[in-house]
Subunit: 358 residues, 2 copies
Amino acid sequence: METLRVELGDRSYPILIGQGLLGERALLEQHLRARDLLVVTNTVVAPLYLHTLEATLQPRRAIVTVLPDGESHKTLDSVARILDVLVANRFGRDCAVVALGGGVVGDMAGFAAASYQRGVAFAQIPTTLLAQVDSSVGGKTGVNHPGGKNLIGAFHQPLVVVADTRTLATLPPRQLQAGLAEVIKYGLICDAGFFAWLEANLEPLLAGDATALAYVIRRSCEIKAEIVGRDERERGERALLNLGHTFGHAVESATGYTEWLHGEAIGAGLVMAASMSRACGLLTAEELERVTCLVARAGLPTHVPNVKPDVALELMRIDKKVQSGKIRLVLLRGIGSAFVTSDYDEPALRRTLAMHLG
Amino acid sequence: METLRVELGDRSYPILIGQGLLGERALLEQHLRARDLLVVTNTVVAPLYLHTLEATLQPRRAIVTVLPDGESHKTLDSVARILDVLVANRFGRDCAVVALGGGVVGDMAGFAAASYQRGVAFAQIPTTLLAQVDSSVGGKTGVNHPGGKNLIGAFHQPLVVVADTRTLATLPPRQLQAGLAEVIKYGLICDAGFFAWLEANLEPLLAGDATALAYVIRRSCEIKAEIVGRDERERGERALLNLGHTFGHAVESATGYTEWLHGEAIGAGLVMAASMSRACGLLTAEELERVTCLVARAGLPTHVPNVKPDVALELMRIDKKVQSGKIRLVLLRGIGSAFVTSDYDEPALRRTLAMHLG
């Protein structure tokens, strides 16, 4: 087992990464002491891992809520259902909510934990690559609004993140590919060496090689933990982690959160961010080609045919990165060097959208 | 104008108290700089003060949401309505939500501000005595659940609290009396001199004497600001501010949040807390008599006929003050000396409830 730490003063917490952690009772008890537990999971994950987790949590009182699967269910109504269960079971402030699943489950369970009695303890047990490398770390929780992605939520740090890499063995290839989008993102933001490593090792990753996956999870969490530790509430540097997300959220929102997985939309978003950076003269043709090629090799879309560029632009305007009416973009000055800007050529943005959408 | 300060590091903020502050454009601009504002108010307050506030906020963009009046509307659905308006108007992270009204409006607007884009700026403009002395200060926001009071919410501190004492002139007597419950609470918790002052000056307060009310608001906010500054998240001392509230919340919940105003339920709750303290041998008969008498003179109930003691006890068990299954009570060792305990005689609690309820 490897242990990383997110350093946030009295909200610091460990990320535990290893094979079979879901079955380690002493470990889970050490990091999660509450007697009353609500496990939130979904219809896909429950048949696979709920039994193991329930056995590990014994003899504590663990109530279970099983939600429908998919980003389209990441709504305030689903969170209200979780809250109903907490109230119905008379859970006190000393209870804990445990998210067992991917990013959608973690985001909703986390927001319920943030809101119940103005905040109760919370543990993340991510079971997808995307959740293990990205969404379970950093305390962003929340739900979508019909008007835009993740518009409702809270910052609420978990007590612990338990990434059991064995769960990736049952992950459908499409989900594994989606997770790689966030992994590629970390390389693009700040680690050209990691990006090159991904170029060289993509095939074993796609084949589910445990050693390669463990390395990718550790390096991704390291980068995220460092950035979140310096800027928990996204007042500056943390915005870099949104590389590809303003574009990607517009794709998800335009397609009703049903057609593309989050990671797939982010894959296309990374290509659009690189393409826009190229249009602004910041990236060479060769660098753009490397980005596009790696995203495509990971089985992710580089072009989204059924979204109109105008619709995407409108949706980008309601995204959280907007300040004083101007869309803020995360662009690239090179592979491994992202920055945030509101100072760019609007027509170039329109051309970039037209090139990759519609 | 008087200015107090809630000291919470980078979340510190001023409480401004004075006549006619609602009309002071420069003051409001100084403390609330956002260009995009959402004013949340209700059907009772809007006809009285919305026009003045809108004029003061000009030329900034102020959208208005008018909610129905009353504690029974303090629900997650009402907060969802506020969030819909923020999304529909494409407000960015740099917007601010302004609560114009009593405690219900402030609690809901504050929770919407806490949840929109994981937290936007928020200003409290309380227009009831209860909101000016208590609910607008300290950052507690949230809504009720059918299973219990304030079970869903967030800690989210305002940027500023603007208490325009002129708004109390239009306050119905019943609302003024309800506010006095929280004022009496402060005396009971930690200031016997203030309690004695209230005994001596209750008639001018009930008659709406501006000087007496201004003193009461300042002293109440001073006490609350000190306690909140030392314990923002209620890990210890802040729980003292719940004196009378575990009892009072049960009364409100049992009567569906429609029959009693919050402050009325708290009035009865203070008497029950004092009565329980007497039953535990902590308070003299004379002290209990002083508490009961002051609550009654303030026009507040000391006995609630239509709530069954067993029902109240069940509701107290789901209240947020429960830890490890035992109801935590705030009791009195004397007037001006409250403390929190889980170590009390259960039959005495049942007798106390039977004496004041049903």
